[in-house]
Subunit: 336 residues, 2 copies
């Protein structure tokens, strides 16, 4: 009896030519981007999505080819005062220190554990690499995943005092949902570590782990002492998904050229160029950090998230530059 | 008026609690695997899928975690008398030869172009690598993609005289569809080249390019003489997705452990072990080539697709071994 009812509904569905996608379109008559002020970026996004989803229109793109790629740090969540992954690494060193007494005598750990950040800074890039290696390698992928989840469940941002995973840009969450409701597949393409992002991106962004492209270290397959297979993280960089690495990573992991890309720094320039270089309609977006009160303000002179060449190219080529202060009604989701 | 009608149907849908997935389930009351003979493998597959999709059951797995990985050569299509990608490489050398007059004096091309396969065989693995490099690198990713599509549109298998992309196993096509209809995401995890598979897998297997994991060469981002961004394929191997490389590739590209894996050779053993090693219900399958009349028969002694250690481990651990001759009603889809 229930089956009959279902068949009857299925028949009705066919009759009116409805599909899941039509249902979404009907629902989307309310504002899909409520945290965006009316202005050129919001208009450009909605115009683009409308054009590529209008069947029979000159810019129509089949759903399978609607690939949208987003940088993470500075585009979907902040990157100040330090990359959040660096905050994780520093916290991990503190957490692991009791089990690593030798660190008390060994730089750069010694300075760090004494709270001497100036002393730590002396070691420059090699100090950072030591910290990242110590916090990110030498364990299995599953232990690392759990370490990340433990940290995201309790670590708080020094300025905003909220969990890092709550500090994601509300307007970008809406944009991700809006694109997916219109048949896009959304991907992260980040210079950050892929194994650092994958444990939480599905809950936070609605992006499954298999749609995350990022930097990675070497991983080795083997067996533990009980004969259980394991993947161990080795202190050797395998792939840096930044700058020219981004189109390479897109090709390697996705195998399709995006039609929509969003970044915020010069590290995203080649991803934007590669996306722009394809045939057909394209959307290229840049988040510009212009809001010192609600978030941060930085661009051409910043050490983190430097936005210089990409800003010039955006102006020259008519890419969409989001002015955070002007274009976003809210920055972060409301506190729970 | 049309919108009203749609809303009415939507209301009916809610009323009977139907969803897209329910519709598929209702349809699947006919045999989902018609090309499989009744027998232990078919029963094991259906039992497993039923268990992991039974909400509230002890083995239920949420849809997002239903990751299924398939080897390609010998698992989804044949690999005899040579890997199909090798047939492509050999054909490409013939096609490119008029533009490369120097090959007439240069081994291993010289022997190959003279049809002297014994002469070519003298160069062993290094000869094969030369042929693969010449046919797979030195061009952009887009030119290579077109070369692959040109070849798959006309090259025919020496024995079956059909297009290679028509020589896919009908029972495995049904299995892929059955899994997807039950909320699985299907991936290829192949030792073959990722850029050789991606152009045609979506049409042939219903697997999108971003769900293909494979071996790859280095790719470089740059600009052509007109300032257009391009990705160029370089003659340097980057990643070999075979043996222990398979779990590494799964971790790198998918970032989730599969719950279902199918292979056919010792090159798939570590993928099967890694899949088996997770918690919860697991399905491990091996295609055994036992049908010299309709396909091929080979296992422990074969140079291509050697199945020896994995066969022993399958027996010891109760993995499902498909006997092609016994378990499959048909091998290939009917000719169009």
């Amino acid at each position: 009896m229930k089956l009959l009812t279902r068949r009857f509904v299925l028949f009705l569905l066919l009759l009116v030519g409805i599909s899941g996608h039509d249902v979404q379109t009907a629902n989307a008559q309310t504002d899909p981007l409520p945290s965006w002020n009316d202005g050129p970026p919001k208009k450009a996004i909605i115009d683009f999505v409308t054009r590529v989803t209008t069947q029979g229109g000159p810019d129509f793109v089949p759903s399978a080819e609607r690939v949208a790629t987003f940088d993470n740090d500075g585009t979907l969540w902040p990157e100040q005062p330090v990359y959040f992954q660096m905050a994780f690494a520093l916290d991990e060193i503190q957490r692991m220190a009791p089990q690593r007494p030798e660190w008390r005598q060994k730089e750069p750990f010694k300075s760090l554990l004494q709270g001497d950040m100036k002393g730590f800074a002396r070691f420059g890039k090699s100090g950072v690499l030591d910290i990242v290696a110590a916090s990110h390698t030498g364990m299995t992928t599953e232990v690392f995943r759990q370490n990340v989840l433990d940290w995201t469940s309790k670590a708080r941002h020094p300025r905003f005092k909220r969990l890092y995973t709550e500090l994601v840009y509300q307007p970008m969450l809406e944009l991700l949902s809006y694109l997916r409701a219109n048949g896009f597949k959304t991907f992260i393409v980040s210079g950050g570590g892929v194994e650092f992002m994958r444990p939480w991106v599905e809950t936070v962004y609605g992006i499954p782990p298999e749609q995350v492209v990022g930097s990675s270290g070497v991983v080795q397959f083997g067996f533990d002492q009980n004969g259980k297979p394991e993947l161990k993280k080795i202190a050797k960089i395998e792939f840096v998904d930044d700058g020219p690495g981004k189109p390479v990573g897109i090709n390697r992991f996705i195998g399709r050229r995006p039609i929509f890309a969003f970044g915020n720094s010069d590290g995203d320039l080649q991803m934007l160029q590669w996306t722009a270089g394809g045939q057909g309609a394209r959307f290229l977006g840049i988040v510009r950090h212009t809001d010192p009160d609600r978030e941060y303000a930085y661009d051409r002179e910043s050490k983190i998230g430097k936005l210089d060449k990409a800003l010039d190219e955006a102006a020259a080529k008519g890419w969409t530059v989001v002015n955070m202060k002007m274009d976003w009604k809210t920055i972060f989701p409301p506190e729970k």
